[in-house]
């Protein structure tokens, strides 16, 4: 066998036998088991309780566990909750569980119902990018449970009016950046106001690798949900991320260089302009099998042809994106070695960043390391001026703080992975996403630079602003 030979599956990890403890339910020890979950046998009356416990455990740090006893008035009002629904199987389960645990009709216990305030559901609709709309079926579903349902269109991320709606500084101008320079300097927007769908498309089309497109949509969805939550004073945002999905997201984050914020994929508190929002994923310990069993036993239906991913229409023509590769890899592991998938999630729960966050990323609002984006300039040299000065005058310059041109830009306020999505080039299928190729909009990139979502704002001193537009000013003053 050579070192390059593909590993045989037996070599990867020892398989465990299917049943560890006979065929009787582990909980009641009397009923015959109906389902094997992680080598443990459950009967169909004990399984739901076990799954609900998993659901609650994931919520325990976000909701007051010591809910006031009967009759006593609550000390602090419980948090209002937003459910972010993708439309996939896990969001159907999330909706059902929240109804079951926290509503009177769902027979949730009264003290437990007090753990949450008002619950509403939000869906980010990307039908502007050619994806089938799930709005009708989701609305029907929410009506069924008596939960308020709101749709936010994806293109709102580029709708200046939306800035006011979510409590951001409405006076700021739209930000555009120059992708041809490594520091991503802001450039004046010469184009007039344009259609948000066209701006969204221009934003996605400017991304230098196809991999960045689904990753960016993921981030935009998260930010639209966050801002919607904060604008309606909801301090808890629940997402229906299942265990395999979480593991995929975690490995993707690592592959994007986002290890510093890895813990945030599981649970995070985001400071928005109107207050803190906690993002929790109460299904994060549920396997696909458990989700499937819940759907089946509760007779819930999932909109046809939906897998919860809004990016199918945006697959590049040549080769897979990192997101798709990671998904295939993790699903492959899940099939043969379910413990690997939960290990990835546990790893993320245990790792501690090696340093304090220096600032919050202007794009994704996640914590960023000091000099997050300058590290790359020393480890992957992209321009010669740097190289010449370095070699001739200052050969001892460490890569962590290379003497880059003093030029300032958006790069200085981004985290490493957002920076990577905007700057990393090459690879398969580069620039070949058919759905984005057709330009229905007014934005011409050459003039206006890459448009940014409305929450990415240019914070510059007046002098820096003059500098950045210097080439366009006809004379002083």
């Amino acid at each position: 066998m050579s070192c390059d030979a593909p590993p045989s599956t037996e070599d990867l990890m020892p398989r465990r036998s299917r049943y560890d403890r006979g065929q009787t339910c582990i909980k009641c020890k009397s009923q015959r088991g109906n389902l094997v979950i992680k080598h443990t046998v459950y009967c169909s009356s004990c399984l739901p309780a076990m799954l609900v416990r998993k659901f609650r455990r994931a919520l325990s740090t976000s909701l007051d566990p010591a809910a006031p006893s009967r009759g006593t008035p609550s000390r602090t009002p419980p948090p209002d909750v937003i459910l972010g629904l993708s439309g996939g199987p896990s969001s159907v389960v999330l909706l059902d569980l929240v109804w079951k645990c926290f509503s009177a009709q769902g027979s949730g216990r009264k003290d437990e119902r007090r753990q949450v305030g008002k619950v509403r559901a939000v869906h980010i609709d990307w039908s502007c990018l050619g994806r089938a709309s799930l709005v009708e079926s989701l609305k029907e579903n929410c009506d069924h449970y008596g939960i308020d349902f709101t749709v936010v269109r994806g293109e709102e991320a580029f709708e200046p009016a939306w800035r006011n709606a979510v409590g951001l500084d409405g006076s700021a101008a739209d930000a555009h950046i120059d992708l041809s320079s490594a520091r991503l300097p802001f450039v004046p927007s010469l184009a007039g106001p344009s259609d948000p769908v066209a701006t969204l498309r221009a934003h996605l089309r400017s991304l230098p690798t196809p991999t960045s497109v689904p990753a960016t949509l993921h981030t935009l969805t998260r930010l639209l949900l966050l801002h919607t939550a904060s604008s309606s004073d909801c301090s808890v945002l629940m997402l229906g991320t299942s265990l395999p999905r979480l593991s995929i997201d975690l490995l993707e984050t690592v592959a994007y260089g986002g290890g510093f914020a890895l813990g945030a994929e599981r649970e995070e508190i985001v400071r928005t302009s109107r207050g803190d929002v906690k993002i929790v994923r109460p299904l994060r310990d549920w396997s696909l099998k458990e989700l499937g069993w819940w759907l089946y036993s509760r007779q819930l239906s999932v909109p046809r042809g939906v897998n919860g991913k809004p990016t199918q229409a945006l697959a590049p023509t040549g080769g897979k994106t990192i997101g798709k590769l990671t998904e295939d890899f993790v699903i492959g592991l899940e099939r043969d070695y379910p413990s690997t998938v939960s290990t990835i999630s546990k790893t993320a729960a245990k790792v501690v960043p090696a340093e304090e966050a220096a600032y919050t990323c202007a794009y994704c609002l996640r914590p960023a390391q000091k000099d997050a984006t300058r590290w790359k300039a020393g480890t992957a040299i992209m321009s010669l001026p740097f190289l010449i000065t370095n070699a001739a005058t200052d050969p001892l310059t460490p890569p962590k703080t290379p003497p880059l041109p003093a030029e300032k830009g958006l790069a200085d306020s981004l985290c490493y992975s957002c920076y990577t999505h905007l700057t990393a080039r090459g690879g398969t299928g580069a620039g070949k996403i058919p759905a984005l190729a057709s330009n229905g909009g007014l934005v011409t990139l050459g003039e206006a630079g890459m448009p940014m979502p409305v929450w990415v704002q240019q914070k510059l001193t007046e002098e820096e602003m003059r500098e950045s537009i210097g080439g366009f000013l006809l004379e002083d003053e």
């Binding site: 066998m1 050579s2 070192c3 593909p6 590993p7 070599d11 990867l12 690798t209 196809p210 991999t211 490995l251 690592v254 592959a255 994007y256 260089g257 986002g258 290890g259 510093f260 890895l262 080769g319 897979k320 994106t321 990192i322 990671t326 890899f329 592991l333 690997t340 290990t343 546990k346 790893t347 245990k350 790792v351 960043p353 090696a354 340093e355 390391q369 590290w375 790359k376 020393g378 480890t379 992957a380 040299i381 992209m382 321009s383 010669l384 190289l387 370095n390 070699a391 001892l396 310059t397 460490p398 890569p399 962590k400 490493y416 990577t420 990393a424 080039r425 090459g426 690879g427 398969t428």
Partner: protein
């Protein structure tokens, strides 16, 4: 009106390669320059060396260590590191693999004029890898090779009286290890595996100057510099789990070349100091090598080989059974070399 194709770095010469790490089209000279400068940056930012350091380059005859020897020589001259460098080779005793690769190490030695020390498993342990594989089969033999090689390098370094061993581990190796440690949930290793330099109690430092160098670029560098290396990988089975991570990593690199250093950057965010991990260390009762048990790992493995129970030696549960067996008579003592104390440096050979 397509612009004339010129090197993305110097903007003048004709580009001849698309650089694997960045996707830029660059000329040969610029490629050499950025490759070497990035290694130099890595060395300087980690403050790996100080003038007068005696450094052994772990030379296997393969591409990584061959290019490492070349680049270390170039950088030592160009930037005046002031290092005294040696080549240190371990002969595992793998017929048809190590014989040929040692020949290429010897040719490198002549070309760079660096002193070469070869240490064999046979002379240290009394066993060649061929003989070990004959006893234990092809599974798990990397456990033996890993322990034996690590100790052999340390013992060789002591014999050369050097402070520092540099090895050819490249960015692909490190990114793979990051992925593997995440998939295995090994937090301690995850925190350590991106460290550029580690130091044991014996105070010999081990470093990876190619930490950010892409495997493809190392091959490219060797090709354009016409460096002489032996290109066959170890014929014995590698860690299969690593093989799985490797396939995945190559796919990621194809989708976006920066993925490799991006993964390393992710791994560095969890970096922990080595001190956290260290158990109370003692020295091996048999050979004197540092050890956390009565016997060091190499002596334990060696004993299991002598008892003909080597298959048991790789799991903790089996260790007890192994320990119950009396040690064979005349157990070999692995030769130990001692470095001169800093106060009385040995004369350079």
């Amino acid at each position: 009106m397509a612009p004339p194709r010129t090197c993305a770095l110097c903007q003048t010469a004709r580009p001849i390669v698309r650089r694997p790490k960045t996707g830029q089209q660059v000329c040969k000279e610029c490629f050499f320059h950025v490759f070497e400068t990035e290694v130099h940056n890595t060395i300087m930012s980690a403050k790996l060396f100080k003038p007068g350091d005696r450094v052994a380059i772990g030379a296997s005859g393969g591409k990584d260590s061959t290019v490492l020897a070349h680049v270390m020589k170039v950088l030592n001259d160009r930037y005046d590191y002031g290092l005294e460098m040696y080549l240190l080779s371990i002969d595992e005793g793998i017929t048809g693999y190590r014989d040929d690769s040692l020949e290429s190490v010897k040719r490198n030695q002549q070309e760079y004029g660096l002193p070469l020390k070869i240490l064999s498993y046979d002379e240290l342990y009394g066993w060649t890898m061929d003989a070990i594989v004959e006893q234990i089969g092809r599974k798990n033999n990397c456990t033996f090779c890993g322990v034996f090689r690590r100790q052999a390098l340390d013992r060789g370094a002591a014999a050369l009286n050097v402070d520092h061993i540099v090895t050819g581990h490249n960015a692909d190796d490190i990114a793979e290890t990051v992925l593997m440690n995440i998939m295995r949930g090994d937090i301690a290793r995850l925190g350590r595996c991106t460290l550029i330099c580690t130091q044991g109690e014996d105070s010999i430092k081990r470093s990876k100057p190619f930490k950010y160098a892409y495997e493809k670029e190392i091959v490219m560098y060797a090709y354009f510099k016409k460096l002489d290396y032996f290109s066959t990988e170890c014929i014995y089975s590698p860690d299969a789990y690593r093989g799985h991570a490797r396939v995945f990593l190559k796919d990621l690199e194809a989708a976006r070349p920066s993925a490799i250093i991006d993964i390393i950057h992710s791994g560095e965010a969890f970096q922990i100091g080595e001190a956290v991990e260290l158990k109370a260390q003692q020295t091996c009762k048999r050979c004197g090598y540092m050890s956390s048990n009565d016997l060091c790992k190499a002596c334990t493995l060696l004993e299991s080989l002598e008892k003909g129970m080597a298959k048991l030696a790789t799991g903790d549960r089996n260790r007890r059974r192994l320990d119950e067996e009396p040690a064979p008579e005349n157990m070999r003592t692995i030769p130990m070399f001692h470095r001169a104390t800093p106060a009385e440096p040995a004369a350079a050979p």
